[in-house]
Symmetry: C2
Subunit: 285 residues, 2 copies
């Protein structure tokens, strides 16, 4: 479906991600429309030729014409939008999303959605420390991962279309995972790392530390500058998977602490060698 550029794509929520989707897809020649909260975002996107048309209202024509709708909203706002406005969607439309948690969202949306519209969930694992359509770029997805998380309710066609969308957007790795696998992976690789960074950044408020900071500390706390509204929601939406990862981390950290207390240098060295070996797997290919 997606390869047919006569079809119309609507982006709901024109921020950093929505704007970056629009930039890439517009380049391919798709008709791109947008619905978003801020008039300034629509103005900017029209001026920059990122979209063909847009509105800050629930424009029935724009919504009703879209063959593919990409929701780039906060999780709870996405659910509310579907609850209230799904009647405006075109029959046969395909909808997808960019939500960073899946188990708590995908089944909920699929349960409440009209039977003549299909939702196929996806998570573009890309971002920047800045937000807004003004910071969007058509290079955001290079080198990044795009994960499609189908359920039993999805058709093979929708899954293929969504995978193809990821490839069109320029993602370097396009894959499918179950919602549960996705949430575990995100709990570990993304959310646990943010929990660690904000803890490190706030656990010792001693003054003057910044004058002695080296690259290690800066690396570990780069993501400690965090959007509190978005991340607190993502943490809570993925609560059980994240708690599991936090517990794995605490247990291992306490093991290391015991090694230090007992000066068990051999176990400490073994853990460090394990760490060194495992880190090699994670180098950029």
């Amino acid at each position: 479906m997606i390869v047919d550029i006569s079809q119309k794509i609507l982006i709901v929520g024109l921020g950093l991600l929505g704007g970056s989707y629009a930039r890439v897809l517009k380049r391919f020649g798709f008709h791109i429309s947008a619905i978003t909260k801020e008039a300034s975002s629509i103005e900017y996107a029209l001026k920059e030729n990122i979209i063909d048309e847009g509105s800050t209202e629930l424009d029935e024509r724009i919504i009703g014409e879209a063959d593919l709708v990409i929701f780039a909203l906060y999780p709870h706002i996405f659910v509310q939008w579907i609850e209230k406005n799904q009647k405006l969607l075109k029959s046969g439309a395909l909808i997808t999303d960019v939500t960073g948690v899946k188990g708590n969202i995908v089944y909920k949306i699929q349960e409440i959605l009209r039977p003549d519209v299909e939702f196929i969930a996806a998570h573009p694992m890309a971002g920047r420390e800045v937000s807004g359509v003004e910071n969007s770029t058509d290079k955001l997805f290079i080198g990044a991962n795009y994960i499609v998380t189908p359920t039993e309710k999805n058709t093979p066609e929708a899954i293929q279309t969504c995978l193809e969308l990821g490839r069109l957007l320029g993602f370097s790795n396009v894959a499918t995972l179950s919602p549960k696998e996705h949430d575990e992976m995100i709990g570990f690789l993304s959310q646990l790392t943010h929990c660690i960074a904000i803890t490190l950044m706030t656990c010792n408020d001693k003054e003057n530390m910044e004058n002695f900071t080296g690259d290690s500390f800066r690396d570990l706390t780069r993501i400690a500058r965090i959007n509190d509204l978005m991340w607190s929601e993502l943490f809570i939406e993925n609560k059980s998977a994240l708690l599991e990862q936090m517990n794995l981390f605490i247990d291992k950290f306490n093991e290391l602490k015991t090694m230090l207390e007992t000066e068990d240098i051999e176990s400490m060295r073994k853990m460090m060698r394990h760490s060194t070996e495992r880190r090699a797997l994670f180098d950029k290919k």
Copy 2:
């Protein structure tokens, strides 16, 4: 003293740090000698014109002629060297070091040292993920911190000389701290970060994670590739200060975990805002 380039500098331990010291100081015109374990290191340094002379033996002439001796050895080897070989040092010589922990080393060395030789401790906070004189560079210290940790036993002249050495080497920030302040700071900024990185790297061995890794996880685990021999020794030499920092971290991490368990979104957001504000202090100037 150090500004008099007629004086001779000996480097004991010609690895990454010792070699980088030699490169910079040789450029200023000092006579540089080296004593190290590996013949290949001496050969390389002579060929590259990093040193004027060197030996893998305890050459009595070389040691006896040095006005300033820089020990770039592992902590326990440094202490052993002084115990066994200090009789070879020139009367009136000044000695310094590069050791990454201070409280456990400085007082011990000063206690056993001959009264006609002075030890002024310093910590050059610079390094690379590679080792050996072959990887040394005269740019290693640019942007980095150099901390002198004097005690009551040090003379003002020795402290000034050591601070000047740091400036000559090209460090961007040259400062003094007490050994205790230094160890707390290092425990937090450097050692705790390494504990966190190796814990994160080893707490979940699930396969295939590397295919979904983004920049956040890579940033937090860059230092998880670690020299197990050196870091296990540094951790144990700084045991009490590091345990204190590990406990601060665990307490805060558990607070965050409780916020998540109870879905206390306001406290979570407050912690994230605190983190964001505090991180701004640590940006590179």
